[in-house]
């Protein structure tokens, strides 16, 4: 430090790196440089970058948590939707059953009514048929008596109306 060097004294012939007269100058400015860089970095640069990185990490994990929460919400919403769907289905089934029962009741009543009407009609018809049958039997007996009387007369007998009628009736029963 005490001996100022002559510039470029050893620039030719030797390595400037080994020119010890330049060492004090280099070392002094190096120390100044390193101290300044150290202060700039440790006071401003590095804490700031550390802050940025920590903030980013916080933001990312916060966003992930929010996403997870939203996902949970979506799952819950889907579940409640499914529940509502199941409930609506049950409700619908119930309504259908009620309607069916109602319809069945009306149907039963109508069927019973129709059956009764059919039965009445059938009974009426049967009465009529029996009447007609009876009428026909009487007519047959009349014709038989007449025929028998005519036959007897034709054969030269004396037609006894009472006897013929009794005989015809006896025959017809048999």
């Amino acid at each position: 430090m005490a001996t100022p060097a002559t510039t470029e004294a050893a620039s030719s012939g030797t390595m400037p790196q080994l020119d010890f007269s330049t060492f004090p100058n280099q070392i002094f400015w190096l120390v100044v440089t390193l101290v300044v860089i150290y202060l700039v970095l440790s006071r401003i640069g590095l804490p700031r970058i550390a802050g940025i990185l920590a903030e980013r990490r916080g933001t990312i994990s916060g966003d992930l948590a929010a996403a997870e929460e939203l996902k949970q919400k979506a799952v819950a919403a889907e579940k409640s939707y499914q529940d509502a769907l199941v409930q609506a289905r049950a409700e619908g089934a119930k309504i259908i059953a009620a309607a069916k029962a109602e319809i069945q009741k009306g149907l039963d009543a109508a069927t019973a009514k129709a059956d009764a009407q059919i039965a009445a009609k059938a009974a009426e018809s049967e009465g009529r048929i029996a009447e007609i049958k009876a009428g026909a039997m009487d007519a047959v007996a009349e014709v038989a008596k007449d025929t028998a009387g005519a036959l007897v007369t034709a054969l030269g007998g004396q037609a006894d109306a009472k006897a013929i009628s009794a005989a015809v009736s006896a025959r017809m029963k048999g």
Binding site: M1, P4, A5, T6, T7, E8, S11, S12, G13, T14, M15, P16, Q17, L18, D19, S21, T22, F23, P24, N25, Q26, I27, F28, W29, L30, V31, V32, T33, L34, V36, I37, Y38, V40, L41, S42, I44, G45, L46, R48, I49, A50, G51, I52, L53, E55, R56, T59
Partner: protein, 248 residues
Amino acid sequence: MAGEATSGPTFEPMHQFGIHPLFGGDTLHWYTISNVTLWMGVAVILATLLMVISTRRRALVPGRSQSIAEILYSFVHDMVVDITGHDGVKFFPYVMTLFTFILISNYMGLIPGAFTTTSHIAVTAVMAMAVFLTVTVVGFVLNGVSFLGLFWVSSAPLVLRPILAVIELMSYFVRPMSHSIRLAGNMMAGHTVINVFATFGFYAIIAPLSVLGIAAMYGFELLVCAIQAYVFTILTCVYLRDALHPSH
């Protein structure tokens, strides 16, 4: 080193490393503003631009310059934590300062006409000695006498231990030398080779080859600049680990 160039080009590959006062004058006092001052000042400005100005927006989604600052930060921070452990984080600003300065100075030296401060053994030796003294002082302050266990290889057979202790002690004191000469030597060699190639370019017939050689060497130097900054930093971390955890 410089040749006796009587005819043709002046062969002075070491001239680029010369140190001279910036504003005239012949004498170089310790306080003289020299080309060393200029380029170290530029390094300070670039370091500030890189690590402080680029991050001024504190963007959550970083831009290009902020990304570079963050990558450098994470790179060195992870290195310090991985090698020295979590208690080594208090040395992180110190390591980061060395890394930033060396990286910027190495790359600035690749600007044609620039002066490479890290090619000087005085510069690298001061940084290496600072690391060496820090490791030694911190080692003794934190561990007391047990810091000497660093030299006593307890896993070796007892007979070998004194011999190993001598070897370990020697290697310990050689550290600052290898630490500093590695960086300065690499930078100096690369620049000298480029300069020699450029001198060959004086002859038109070799000039194309010379240009090719310079281009190849320049690309190689782009790698070396980063690697040497990395090597210096990682060795600093390795030495600091010895101070924090001296047991083998």
